[in-house]
């Protein structure tokens, strides 16, 4: 029991550090699935949403800042 508590105390502070990379990895896997499931061309709305998300990431995401 003491060992389990010690392990939990080690793991919990690590969760926020890996959370960002894990969510990006999950998003990447999800995008692979989305691309593989795409059967037709994008609608105009999907086109606009995609372009808006690309521009928003480029302008606002700190990871894209030099």
């Amino acid at each position: 029991m003491t060992l389990a508590l010690a392990i939990v105390q080690i793991i919990i502070p690590l969760i926020p550090k890996v959370e960002g990379e894990v969510s990006s990895l999950v998003n990447w896997i999800s995008s692979i699935r989305t691309a593989a499931k795409q059967t037709g061309q994008w609608s105009d709305e999907m086109e606009q949403n995609f372009r808006a998300s690309v521009i928003a990431a480029g302008l606002a995401d700190p990871a894209y800042k030099p």
């Binding site: 550090k17 960002g20 990379e21 894990v22 990006s24 990895l25 999950v26 998003n27 990447w28 999800s30 995008s31 692979i32 699935r33 989305t34 691309a35 593989a36 499931k37 795409q38 059967t39 037709g40 061309q41 994008w42 086109e47 995609f50 372009r51 998300s53 690309v54 521009i55 990431a57 480029g58 302008l59 995401d61 700190p62 990871a63 894209y64 800042k65 030099p66």
Partner: protein, 222 residues
């Protein structure tokens, strides 16, 4: 239920908790057709398969006569592993609808995967840029190259990662409106896919744990 099975149940409960934390808000089934193909359903089936596997894969309880315990059967785990592989991989591939232009669909797929790939490596590099600059300078340099501001469409300035996606999308829109040839779109798409492949190759560098082994390396032979 022996101690192995009890421990297996506890481990399974922890796995369920972890999977819920990771997958919350990832994707929700909108309808029945989509539900069959969503990660939620596949994850649930895989989870049940894993529970069944864990339940049957244990050392046998020693009989009172002192005879040796039974060994776990190999057929059931093998069958479950094959089922999991089929469930995880098979439903993901979809054919292109009749009437849809394959080169446009291929370009849109490349844009989707490209954006997520750039997101992944740029966020990974952004977690500790100084660390990556010291320990993986080529990877960090590639990320900085993706971050360089590029002017597109006259006045818009965006990081190269975003600009490349939008430039490919512009070529696609030109092709849709018959302002450029399929050859131009094909060249742009394959060039972009080459860059995405390079970004994905860096994932093999960044995905392993980046903390060094604290134990000193000692030679095996004296």
């Amino acid at each position: 239920m022996n101690q192995d099975q009890l421990s297996s149940l506890v481990r399974t409960a922890l796995k369920i908790l972890g999977a819920l934390i990771v997958s919350t808000g990832l994707q929700n089934a909108g309808n029945l057709d989509a539900a069959i193909n969503t990660p939620d359903v596949i994850g649930l089936v895989s989870l049940i398969a894993g529970m069944v596997w864990s339940h049957f894969s244990h050392t046998g309880t020693p009989p009172p006569t002192g005879a040796t315990g039974g060994s776990p059967s190999i057929k059931l785990p093998l069958l479950l592993a094959l089922c999991c592989a089929v469930l995880c991989l098979a439903p993901g591939c979809s054919p292109i609808q009749p009437g849809a232009d394959p080169i446009i669909v291929q370009t849109e797929r490349a844009e989707t995967v490209g954006k997520a790939s750039f997101d992944l490596i740029l966020h990974a590099d952004n977690t500790d840029r100084a660390f990556w600059e010291t320990n993986a300078p080529a990877f960090h340099e590639f990320c900085e190259w993706l971050r360089q501001p590029i002017t597109i469409e006259g006045t818009n300035t965006l990081p190269r990662a975003s600009a490349l996606i939008l430039q490919l999308d512009d070529v696609k829109l030109d092709y849709e409106s018959a302002r450029t040839s399929s050859n131009a779109l094909w060249v742009a798409c394959t060039t972009f896919q080459g860059l995405v492949s390079q970004a994905q190759a860096w994932q093999t560098v960044i995905l392993p744990p980046k903390t060094p082994d604290p134990k000193p390396q000692t030679p095996l032979l004296p």
